[in-house]
Symmetry: C2
Subunit: 411 residues, 2 copies
């Protein structure tokens, strides 16, 4: 297999220039879907696709496609990610994957000409849920036909505008959303920053992702008896704060002891009435528990639920919970995993294979295509912040891995 | 010693009538200091004092005094409590003590005539801090000279009005506050509902209170590293929620194991950023720890602080705390404790001796007088709620104990 050349200076210029649209303070980007900055960024992406000799189309939700037609018929091989950011996010989360797809296909075209299979670079319009809290994966959900009629009118943003109005504001017609659906994609390959510290700790620039973790959010309410903090003895209390603390310690220890890649997080707690001199009436909290292996995931959840029930019963507390997020693990296609492992190996790029602990557009795309992801090392494991950073050598290693894998699939 | 007669019907009528001023829903009372309801209640208290043949005066902050002059000179023996309530509170917290002082002195006057020592019934204007959060104990602090010049102008209410304006609104002059100071009180006896379940569990109507607990509020901030809940492995986290949970479990278990009357409460927690899928950056929380014995209190605090430091260091978290409340225990006068124990015993009233886990005006009054308290059983240990309740037989037992003790001191 030939060595794929990717120009580091071009990569750096492209990232920095894209970071200007919605630039926030020194290194941040604030670019929510359908904002003026988002319009500028998608226009820029489309212009770069055209400049690379790709056929540019925009679909009904504002995803931008840059198509390099293959010499043989058949479904496409697509690479990209989302171009929207957190408020503020950085230059890399999402955007890097959209740019990587474009840069890789451009490099392949320049170095190897027309492919046999059609390749497409993709800028997805939205993934972060940073303007419409209930609307993340908007771009990939449109492509996979997972947006229901009326959704755009019903969904409200943080500023109370509807998704439909936001679309109309940038010249898109919500009624046309079904036309964004694609049924001719064979494989979707998404490059993304890791967002965690595993590659950094392993001393490696790149990973091939073999699964996206399964995730469940428990929303738990633990109710006891509100009492005076001074006058009510310890032995007679039914204190939900004590139960909450014991559950939190227990679920965190359970995931820690199960070992990587199990993770459990208690990120949110709301105490009622939350007074310093009052034994609380209730504590509402979340338990976010993730594992990419379906069997291990079931064990993790069973242990969490058994612990929550046991603590509540022993302490005389009422407990109830709902799952407001519950996604099964998304396994990468084994063939694609092998292809991209081989690609990295043959390009001389040191890599590891790991699951993703975060959710990604690939989970949606998996409903219509084979998927795989490539991770690039994140400095200090940071993301969703202006401080997120990946080095140009690491990014180039990621894009070369991507391009080499696409070469294997398409040439 | 003669048996003291207290008429249960009169007691019940008096309580229900006073509960009409600021009546809230069925059984609640909402009567903050210097409100129109408060004016009506203090007028009623003054009228009842006059009706009982006591000489009525009102001081500069609106405390109402009903004086029964003794035949011999010397400092007064005073009994009362505060007439303001929580928002809403019930009919008993505070008010019962103001009424009990009046009813007891009235009964003594009717049954035994003029005392040797001067007796005074007292309605204190404010204790709850329910209108001015930083202004509790306003009535007893005026009497003990603990209000600094300018305090009334500086203190702001929940509705942003100043204490000085609230005083002027009911015809009081803030400049006259120093005139409320008293230096001629020998003993202060405060009857109050227990606000806890100890008497109920012991099956007793009444307690003599030998100490008011020492209290310290720690305001703690625990800071770690904010990270992605999916992408950051358990073994690399510096999670302040995990530290908070371990500290909460530890301080609660420490107080529980130390046994009654030690109490420690974590009543307030504020998580930043408080998102379900984010390992938090910080958790701010309170630790309210109380013990009436000075030596045991020091041990309790030392254990809490050692635990907090150890957990923070082991988990790589930053920790800092301040004490925004730190009151030493207030010991009742041993002679008064013995007097009221004897009084209950001789009246045939079953009682126990216990500390108070809650703060009371007596703590302030202890700076100028000997103090003791009498507790009356609370249904389910409830207070600061419309549901608080004490039965008329229990209240009568409390007032008879009070009156019998006052008889011993004054006749």
């Amino acid at each position: 297999m030939p060595e794929i050349a990717v120009d580091p200076d071009f990569v750096e210029r492209t990232i920095l220039e894209m970071g200007r649209y919605g630039a926030y303070a020194d290194t941040g980007v604030w670019r929510t879907v359908y904002s003026p900055e988002w319009v500028q960024a998608t226009d820029q992406y489309a212009a770069w696709c055209a400049e690379a000799g790709l056929a540019v189309t925009r679909d009904a939700v504002g995803n931008v496609w840059g198509r390099l037609e293959g010499s043989e018929p058949g479904p496409s091989i697509v690479s990209g990610s989302h171009i929207d950011t957190q408020r503020p996010g950085g230059r890399y989360d999402g955007t890097l994957g959209a740019l990587a797809g474009l840069i890789a296909i451009r490099a392949l075209k320049e170095q190897f000409g027309r492919p046999k299979r059609t390749l497409e670079a993709l800028s997805l319009c939205e993934e972060e849920g940073s303007r419409f809290p209930s609307t993340n994966f908007w771009g990939s959900r449109a492509i996979t036909g997972r947006i229901a009629p009326g959704d755009a009118e019903a969904m409200k943003g943080y500023a109370d505008e509807t998704m439909a109005d936001a679309m109309r504001g940038v010249g898109l017609d919500p009624a046309a959303i079904p036309s964004a659906r694609r049924d001719d994609i064979d494989s979707f390959v998404e490059l993304h920053i890791e967002q965690g510290p595993i590659l950094e700790h392993a001393g490696l620039p790149v990973a091939v992702v073999d699964a996206i973790t399964g995730i469940r959010h428990y929303s738990v309410v633990l109710t006891g008896e509100q009492n005076h903090a001074g006058a009510f003895p310890m032995d007679l209390r039914r204190d939900p704060m004590a139960g909450f603390a014991e559950i939190t310690t227990g679920v965190i220890n359970t995931a820690h002891r199960m070992g990587r890649p199990a993770v459990t997080t208690v990120g949110r707690a709301v105490v009622d009435p939350n007074g310093p001199a009052v034994v609380p009436r209730s504590v509402a909290f979340t338990v976010d528990a993730r594992h990419p292996d379906p069997a291990q995931r079931a064990i993790l959840y069973r242990r969490h639920e058994a612990l929550m029930r046991e603590v509540a019963e022993r302490r005389g507390l009422e407990i109830s919970w709902t799952h407001y997020v519950d996604h099964a693990p998304c396994l990468s296609d084994p063939g694609l995993v092998a292809t991209f492992q081989d690609a990295a190996r043959e390009q001389g790029i040191p890599f590891m294979t790991m699951p993703s602990g975060a959710g990604h557009d690939s989970q949606q795309m998996a409903s219509i295509a084979k998927v795989v992801m490539i991770f690039v090392r994140s400095k200090d494991g940071r993301s969703h912040t202006p401080e997120e950073f990946s080095s140009i050598p690491d990014i180039v290693a990621g894009i070369r891995t991507l391009a080499a894998g696409l070469y294997k699939l398409a040439y």
